[in-house]
Protein backbone atom coordinates (compact mmCIF):
# COMPACT_ATOMS: atom_id res chain seq x y z
CA UNK A 1 0.00 0.00 0.00
CA UNK A 2 1.27 3.44 -0.81
CA UNK A 3 1.14 6.57 1.27
CA UNK A 4 -2.03 8.68 1.35
CA UNK A 5 -1.63 10.47 -1.98
CA UNK A 6 -0.03 7.51 -3.74
CA UNK A 7 -2.73 5.22 -2.49
CA UNK A 8 -5.45 7.57 -3.69
CA UNK A 9 -3.81 7.54 -7.12
CA UNK A 10 -3.74 3.74 -7.06
CA UNK A 11 -7.45 3.64 -6.31
CA UNK A 12 -8.21 6.23 -8.96
CA UNK A 13 -6.57 3.95 -11.49
CA UNK A 14 -9.35 1.45 -10.69
CA UNK A 15 -12.04 4.13 -10.32
CA UNK A 16 -11.20 6.74 -12.93
CA UNK A 17 -14.57 8.39 -12.31
CA UNK A 18 -13.18 9.64 -9.01
CA UNK A 19 -10.66 11.89 -10.75
CA UNK A 20 -11.72 15.50 -10.69
CA UNK A 21 -14.40 14.88 -8.08
CA UNK A 22 -14.50 14.35 -4.36
CA UNK A 23 -12.73 11.07 -3.61
CA UNK A 24 -11.19 10.78 -0.16
CA UNK A 25 -9.88 7.73 1.66
CA UNK A 26 -11.47 7.60 5.10
CA UNK A 27 -10.16 4.37 6.65
CA UNK A 28 -7.37 1.83 6.52
CA UNK A 29 -7.90 -1.25 4.35
CA UNK A 30 -9.41 -4.27 6.09
CA UNK A 31 -10.98 -7.58 5.07
CA UNK A 32 -13.28 -7.45 8.09
CA UNK A 33 -16.26 -6.08 6.17
CA UNK A 34 -17.28 -5.23 2.64
CA UNK A 35 -19.36 -2.59 0.93
CA UNK A 36 -22.63 -4.38 1.62
CA UNK A 37 -21.95 -4.54 5.36
CA UNK A 38 -20.80 -0.94 5.24
CA UNK A 39 -23.96 0.14 3.47
CA UNK A 40 -25.92 -1.67 6.18
CA UNK A 41 -23.98 0.22 8.86
CA UNK A 42 -21.86 -2.75 9.95
CA UNK A 43 -18.10 -2.92 10.09
CA UNK A 44 -17.30 -6.32 11.56
CA UNK A 45 -18.55 -8.94 9.14
CA UNK A 46 -18.57 -9.57 5.43
CA UNK A 47 -22.04 -9.68 3.86
CA UNK A 48 -22.74 -11.71 0.77
CA UNK A 49 -25.26 -14.37 -0.26
CA UNK A 50 -22.68 -17.13 -0.09
CA UNK A 51 -22.04 -19.93 2.43
CA UNK A 52 -19.54 -18.71 5.01
CA UNK A 53 -20.63 -15.08 4.73
CA UNK A 54 -23.43 -13.23 6.47
CA UNK A 55 -26.70 -12.70 4.68
CA UNK A 56 -30.01 -11.53 6.19
CA UNK A 57 -32.10 -14.66 6.68
CA UNK A 58 -35.21 -13.06 5.18
CA UNK A 59 -33.56 -12.33 1.82
CA UNK A 60 -33.22 -14.65 -1.20
CA UNK A 61 -29.81 -16.29 -1.26
CA UNK A 62 -28.55 -14.95 -4.55
CA UNK A 63 -26.82 -11.83 -5.87
CA UNK A 64 -29.70 -10.45 -7.91
CA UNK A 65 -30.90 -6.87 -7.53
CA UNK A 66 -34.20 -8.08 -6.09
CA UNK A 67 -32.45 -10.13 -3.42
CA UNK A 68 -30.50 -7.08 -2.27
CA UNK A 69 -33.62 -4.92 -2.25
CA UNK A 70 -35.30 -7.50 0.01
CA UNK A 71 -32.18 -7.75 2.21
CA UNK A 72 -32.10 -4.00 2.76
CA UNK A 73 -35.88 -3.90 3.05
CA UNK A 74 -35.38 -6.00 6.16
CA UNK A 75 -33.31 -3.07 7.51
CA UNK A 76 -36.07 -0.58 6.82
CA UNK A 77 -34.96 0.65 3.40
CA UNK A 78 -37.52 1.29 0.70
CA UNK A 79 -36.98 2.16 -2.97
CA UNK A 80 -37.05 5.86 -3.77
CA UNK A 81 -36.70 7.99 -6.86
CA UNK A 82 -33.94 10.42 -6.09
CA UNK A 83 -30.35 10.27 -4.91
CA UNK A 84 -30.45 13.88 -3.66
CA UNK A 85 -29.90 14.47 0.03
CA UNK A 86 -33.13 14.66 1.99
CA UNK A 87 -33.10 15.78 5.57
CA UNK A 88 -33.94 13.04 8.00
CA UNK A 89 -33.21 10.21 5.56
CA UNK A 90 -30.22 8.14 4.65
CA UNK A 91 -29.84 6.32 1.39
CA UNK A 92 -28.07 3.36 -0.08
CA UNK A 93 -27.30 2.82 -3.75
CA UNK A 94 -27.08 -0.59 -5.39
CA UNK A 95 -24.69 -1.04 -8.31
CA UNK A 96 -25.22 -3.81 -10.86
CA UNK A 97 -23.28 -5.06 -13.86
CA UNK A 98 -24.71 -5.65 -17.33
CA UNK A 99 -26.25 -8.94 -16.20
CA UNK A 100 -28.06 -7.13 -13.36
CA UNK A 101 -25.89 -8.91 -10.82
CA UNK A 102 -25.10 -6.80 -7.78
CA UNK A 103 -21.45 -5.78 -7.55
CA UNK A 104 -21.37 -2.90 -5.09
CA UNK A 105 -23.30 -0.73 -2.66
CA UNK A 106 -22.70 2.77 -1.32
CA UNK A 107 -24.36 4.68 1.51
CA UNK A 108 -25.32 8.32 1.85
CA UNK A 109 -25.08 9.34 5.47
CA UNK A 110 -26.81 12.49 6.69
CA UNK A 111 -23.90 14.71 5.63
CA UNK A 112 -24.89 14.18 2.00
CA UNK A 113 -21.65 12.59 0.80
CA UNK A 114 -21.57 9.00 -0.38
CA UNK A 115 -19.35 6.48 1.34
CA UNK A 116 -18.17 3.10 0.05
CA UNK A 117 -16.03 0.26 1.27
CA UNK A 118 -13.93 -0.91 -1.65
CA UNK A 119 -13.89 -4.68 -1.26
CA UNK A 120 -11.16 -5.51 1.23
CA UNK A 121 -9.50 -2.15 0.55
CA UNK A 122 -10.29 1.17 2.22
CA UNK A 123 -13.47 3.16 2.74
CA UNK A 124 -13.77 6.20 0.54
CA UNK A 125 -16.04 9.20 0.55
CA UNK A 126 -17.05 10.10 -2.99
CA UNK A 127 -19.58 11.47 -5.41
CA UNK A 128 -22.09 8.73 -6.09
CA UNK A 129 -21.11 7.93 -9.65
CA UNK A 130 -17.39 8.28 -9.06
CA UNK A 131 -17.13 4.54 -8.35
CA UNK A 132 -19.08 3.39 -11.39
CA UNK A 133 -16.69 1.26 -13.43
CA UNK A 134 -16.46 -2.04 -15.27
CA UNK A 135 -16.18 -4.07 -12.08
CA UNK A 136 -18.85 -2.24 -10.09
CA UNK A 137 -21.23 -1.50 -12.93
CA UNK A 138 -23.68 1.36 -12.56
CA UNK A 139 -26.21 2.60 -10.04
CA UNK A 140 -29.41 0.66 -10.53
CA UNK A 141 -31.50 1.38 -7.46
CA UNK A 142 -31.63 3.91 -4.63
CA UNK A 143 -33.22 2.97 -1.31
CA UNK A 144 -33.87 5.20 1.68
CA UNK A 145 -34.91 4.99 5.31
CA UNK A 146 -35.20 7.43 8.21
CA UNK A 147 -31.68 8.36 9.25
CA UNK A 148 -30.11 6.36 12.03
CA UNK A 149 -26.66 5.31 10.82
CA UNK A 150 -23.56 7.12 11.92
CA UNK A 151 -21.15 9.00 9.77
CA UNK A 152 -18.22 6.88 10.87
CA UNK A 153 -18.55 3.66 12.85
CA UNK A 154 -16.62 2.45 15.85
CA UNK A 155 -12.90 2.34 15.43
CA UNK A 156 -12.89 4.29 12.19
CA UNK A 157 -12.25 7.79 13.49
CA UNK A 158 -8.66 8.91 13.65
CA UNK A 159 -8.23 11.67 16.12
CA UNK A 160 -5.54 14.25 15.45
CA UNK A 161 -2.76 14.16 18.02
CA UNK A 162 -3.05 16.57 20.94
CA UNK A 163 -1.61 20.02 20.48
CA UNK A 164 0.82 20.90 23.18
CA UNK A 165 1.20 24.69 23.04
CA UNK A 166 4.74 25.25 24.20
CA UNK A 167 6.54 22.41 22.38
CA UNK A 168 4.68 21.67 19.12
CA UNK A 169 4.71 23.90 16.06
CA UNK A 170 1.59 26.02 16.38
CA UNK A 171 0.07 25.02 13.03
CA UNK A 172 1.09 21.40 13.01
CA UNK A 173 -1.70 18.90 12.74
CA UNK A 174 0.63 15.93 13.15
CA UNK A 175 0.31 12.83 10.98
CA UNK A 176 -2.73 13.17 8.81
CA UNK A 177 -5.22 10.34 8.38
CA UNK A 178 -4.74 9.89 4.64
CA UNK A 179 -6.41 12.56 2.54
CA UNK A 180 -8.97 13.83 5.03
CA UNK A 181 -8.08 17.29 6.29
CA UNK A 182 -7.57 18.00 9.96
CA UNK A 183 -10.51 20.36 10.10
CA UNK A 184 -12.91 17.65 8.97
CA UNK A 185 -11.74 15.32 11.67
CA UNK A 186 -12.31 17.99 14.29
CA UNK A 187 -15.93 18.33 13.32
CA UNK A 188 -16.51 14.60 13.05
CA UNK A 189 -15.12 14.05 16.50
CA UNK A 190 -17.21 16.88 17.87
CA UNK A 191 -20.34 15.35 16.37
CA UNK A 192 -19.75 11.80 17.50
CA UNK A 193 -21.09 11.38 21.01
CA UNK A 194 -24.62 12.61 20.42
CA UNK A 195 -25.58 10.41 17.45
CA UNK A 196 -23.86 7.44 18.98
CA UNK A 197 -25.80 7.81 22.15
CA UNK A 198 -28.99 8.21 20.16
CA UNK A 199 -28.21 4.99 18.34
CA UNK A 200 -27.24 3.26 21.54
CA UNK A 201 -30.59 4.13 23.05
CA UNK A 202 -32.67 3.28 20.01
CA UNK A 203 -33.14 -0.40 20.84
CA UNK A 204 -32.05 -1.55 17.41
CA UNK A 205 -30.38 -4.83 18.18
CA UNK A 206 -26.97 -3.29 17.61
CA UNK A 207 -27.35 -1.44 20.88
CA UNK A 208 -24.65 -3.22 22.82
CA UNK A 209 -21.82 -2.81 20.30
CA UNK A 210 -22.60 0.87 19.99
CA UNK A 211 -22.81 1.35 23.71
CA UNK A 212 -19.37 -0.17 23.89
CA UNK A 213 -18.24 2.18 21.18
CA UNK A 214 -19.66 5.24 22.90
CA UNK A 215 -17.65 4.29 25.93
CA UNK A 216 -14.61 3.77 23.73
CA UNK A 217 -15.02 7.15 22.06
CA UNK A 218 -15.34 8.84 25.41
CA UNK A 219 -12.13 7.16 26.44
CA UNK A 220 -10.45 8.44 23.29
CA UNK A 221 -11.80 11.97 23.44
CA UNK A 222 -11.36 12.75 27.09
CA UNK A 223 -7.54 12.77 27.06
CA UNK A 224 -7.58 15.15 24.10
CA UNK A 225 -10.01 17.50 25.75
CA UNK A 226 -7.35 18.36 28.24
CA UNK A 227 -5.52 20.19 25.45
CA UNK A 228 -6.79 23.36 23.78
CA UNK A 229 -8.18 22.99 20.27
CA UNK A 230 -7.49 25.23 17.33
Amino acid sequence: MGTGGDRRDELLAVFPGGSGSHFAITSPDTPNYNCIAWAAGEYDRWWWPQPGRYWPPAAPFNDSLDAFVVAFGSLGYQPCDTEALEEGFERVAIFVDDELTVQHMARQPPNGRWTSKLGSFEDVEHDLRAVECNDYGRVARILRRPARTLLYPPGRVSLPPPRIPSTAAPDACGPQPLSVPCEGYGSVVDDLPQPFERWAESGDGLREPFKRYVEGVRGLIEPFERFPRG
Binding site: V14, P31, R45, W48, P51, Y54, W55, S120, D135
Partner: protein
Protein backbone atom coordinates in the same frame (compact mmCIF):
# COMPACT_ATOMS: atom_id res chain seq x y z
CA UNK B 1 29.76 -47.67 -1.16
CA UNK B 2 29.59 -50.81 -3.27
CA UNK B 3 29.30 -50.91 -6.98
CA UNK B 4 25.71 -52.08 -6.68
CA UNK B 5 24.85 -49.18 -4.45
CA UNK B 6 26.53 -46.75 -6.81
CA UNK B 7 24.57 -48.30 -9.60
CA UNK B 8 21.33 -47.83 -7.73
CA UNK B 9 22.28 -44.22 -7.00
CA UNK B 10 23.24 -43.67 -10.60
CA UNK B 11 19.97 -45.12 -11.79
CA UNK B 12 18.08 -42.94 -9.39
CA UNK B 13 19.84 -39.84 -10.59
CA UNK B 14 19.20 -40.92 -14.14
CA UNK B 15 15.49 -41.55 -13.61
CA UNK B 16 14.82 -38.37 -11.73
CA UNK B 17 14.42 -37.23 -8.20
CA UNK B 18 10.80 -38.27 -8.01
CA UNK B 19 11.82 -41.90 -8.35
CA UNK B 20 14.54 -41.36 -5.77
CA UNK B 21 11.97 -40.00 -3.38
CA UNK B 22 9.77 -43.05 -3.84
CA UNK B 23 12.74 -45.35 -3.50
CA UNK B 24 13.93 -43.74 -0.30
CA UNK B 25 10.50 -44.05 1.21
CA UNK B 26 10.09 -47.63 0.03
CA UNK B 27 13.46 -49.26 0.70
CA UNK B 28 14.14 -50.44 4.21
CA UNK B 29 17.22 -52.28 5.52
CA UNK B 30 15.88 -55.77 4.76
CA UNK B 31 14.91 -54.72 1.26
CA UNK B 32 18.34 -53.18 0.80
CA UNK B 33 19.92 -56.45 1.91
CA UNK B 34 17.77 -58.46 -0.48
CA UNK B 35 18.88 -56.08 -3.23
CA UNK B 36 22.46 -56.98 -2.40
CA UNK B 37 23.36 -53.52 -1.19
CA UNK B 38 26.01 -53.30 1.49
CA UNK B 39 28.43 -50.85 3.03
CA UNK B 40 28.35 -49.14 6.40
CA UNK B 41 25.04 -49.90 8.14
CA UNK B 42 22.43 -47.39 7.03
CA UNK B 43 24.71 -45.59 4.58
CA UNK B 44 22.59 -46.31 1.52
CA UNK B 45 19.38 -45.52 3.35
CA UNK B 46 20.86 -42.23 4.53
CA UNK B 47 21.84 -41.28 1.02
CA UNK B 48 18.41 -42.05 -0.35
CA UNK B 49 16.69 -40.28 2.51
CA UNK B 50 18.82 -37.22 1.86
CA UNK B 51 17.78 -37.27 -1.76
CA UNK B 52 14.14 -37.71 -0.79
CA UNK B 53 14.35 -34.86 1.70
CA UNK B 54 15.88 -32.63 -0.95
CA UNK B 55 13.12 -33.57 -3.35
CA UNK B 56 10.43 -32.84 -0.80
CA UNK B 57 12.02 -29.49 0.04
CA UNK B 58 12.19 -28.58 -3.61
CA UNK B 59 8.58 -29.59 -4.20
CA UNK B 60 7.51 -27.59 -1.17
CA UNK B 61 9.42 -24.49 -2.25
CA UNK B 62 8.01 -24.75 -5.74
CA UNK B 63 4.47 -25.15 -4.39
CA UNK B 64 4.97 -22.17 -2.11
CA UNK B 65 6.25 -20.03 -4.99
CA UNK B 66 3.27 -20.95 -7.13
CA UNK B 67 0.84 -20.33 -4.29
CA UNK B 68 2.34 -16.93 -3.43
CA UNK B 69 2.27 -15.79 -7.03
CA UNK B 70 -1.37 -16.85 -7.40
CA UNK B 71 -2.33 -15.20 -4.11
CA UNK B 72 -0.72 -11.91 -5.18
CA UNK B 73 -2.38 -12.13 -8.57
CA UNK B 74 -5.75 -12.70 -6.93
CA UNK B 75 -5.31 -9.89 -4.42
CA UNK B 76 -4.36 -7.43 -7.15
CA UNK B 77 -7.31 -8.39 -9.30
CA UNK B 78 -9.97 -8.84 -6.63
CA UNK B 79 -8.95 -6.69 -3.65
CA UNK B 80 -11.44 -3.97 -4.55
CA UNK B 81 -14.33 -6.37 -5.14
CA UNK B 82 -17.05 -7.04 -2.60
CA UNK B 83 -18.73 -9.80 -4.57
CA UNK B 84 -17.54 -13.01 -2.98
CA UNK B 85 -18.99 -14.80 -5.98
CA UNK B 86 -16.66 -12.92 -8.28
CA UNK B 87 -13.69 -13.19 -5.93
CA UNK B 88 -14.05 -16.95 -5.55
CA UNK B 89 -14.43 -17.45 -9.29
CA UNK B 90 -11.27 -15.61 -10.26
CA UNK B 91 -8.87 -17.85 -12.15
CA UNK B 92 -6.06 -17.44 -9.60
CA UNK B 93 -8.39 -18.45 -6.78
CA UNK B 94 -9.57 -21.46 -8.80
CA UNK B 95 -5.94 -22.43 -9.46
CA UNK B 96 -5.24 -22.40 -5.72
CA UNK B 97 -8.28 -24.57 -5.05
CA UNK B 98 -7.09 -26.89 -7.82
CA UNK B 99 -3.81 -27.41 -5.95
CA UNK B 100 -5.87 -29.53 -3.57
CA UNK B 101 -4.82 -30.76 -0.17
CA UNK B 102 -1.12 -29.87 -0.56
CA UNK B 103 -2.27 -26.23 -0.47
CA UNK B 104 -3.87 -26.60 2.96
CA UNK B 105 -0.77 -25.71 5.04
CA UNK B 106 -0.13 -22.69 2.81
CA UNK B 107 -3.76 -21.58 3.08
CA UNK B 108 -3.62 -21.90 6.86
CA UNK B 109 -0.49 -19.73 6.86
CA UNK B 110 -2.08 -17.23 4.52
CA UNK B 111 -5.31 -16.99 6.48
CA UNK B 112 -3.42 -15.78 9.52
CA UNK B 113 -1.46 -13.15 7.60
CA UNK B 114 -4.12 -11.89 5.21
CA UNK B 115 -7.48 -13.56 5.84
CA UNK B 116 -9.57 -12.48 2.83
CA UNK B 117 -11.45 -15.43 1.30
CA UNK B 118 -8.97 -18.21 1.95
CA UNK B 119 -11.45 -19.94 4.23
CA UNK B 120 -13.63 -20.49 1.17
CA UNK B 121 -10.72 -22.23 -0.56
CA UNK B 122 -10.13 -24.37 2.52
CA UNK B 123 -13.82 -25.28 2.68
CA UNK B 124 -13.82 -26.28 -0.98
CA UNK B 125 -10.67 -28.37 -0.72
CA UNK B 126 -11.56 -30.13 2.51
CA UNK B 127 -15.33 -30.32 2.09
CA UNK B 128 -15.62 -29.12 5.67
CA UNK B 129 -16.83 -25.96 7.32
CA UNK B 130 -15.71 -25.57 10.93
CA UNK B 131 -17.17 -22.06 11.23
CA UNK B 132 -20.39 -21.90 13.26
CA UNK B 133 -23.21 -20.35 11.26
CA UNK B 134 -23.55 -17.48 13.72
CA UNK B 135 -19.95 -16.49 12.95
CA UNK B 136 -20.49 -16.34 9.18
CA UNK B 137 -18.61 -13.39 7.74
CA UNK B 138 -16.71 -12.60 10.95
CA UNK B 139 -13.09 -12.76 9.92
CA UNK B 140 -11.53 -13.21 13.35
CA UNK B 141 -13.90 -16.08 14.19
CA UNK B 142 -13.39 -17.66 10.78
CA UNK B 143 -9.61 -17.57 11.16
CA UNK B 144 -9.79 -19.01 14.68
CA UNK B 145 -12.10 -21.82 13.56
CA UNK B 146 -9.83 -22.81 10.67
CA UNK B 147 -6.68 -22.66 12.77
CA UNK B 148 -8.34 -24.95 15.31
CA UNK B 149 -9.35 -27.24 12.46
CA UNK B 150 -5.73 -27.22 11.25
CA UNK B 151 -4.48 -28.17 14.69
CA UNK B 152 -7.04 -31.01 14.99
CA UNK B 153 -5.98 -32.41 11.64
CA UNK B 154 -2.24 -32.19 12.23
CA UNK B 155 -1.50 -29.24 9.97
CA UNK B 156 -0.49 -27.02 12.85
CA UNK B 157 0.95 -27.57 16.29
Amino acid sequence: MTGAAKSVGGDLRGQGLHFASQAARGLRPKAMARAGLSGPPGADITMLEDVAAAVRARELAERRRTFTALAHQWQAACGHLSSTTKRANHKAFRAIVAMGRPAIPLLLEQITRNPNDWDLALAEITGENPVPIEDAGRVDKIVAAWLAWGARHGYRR
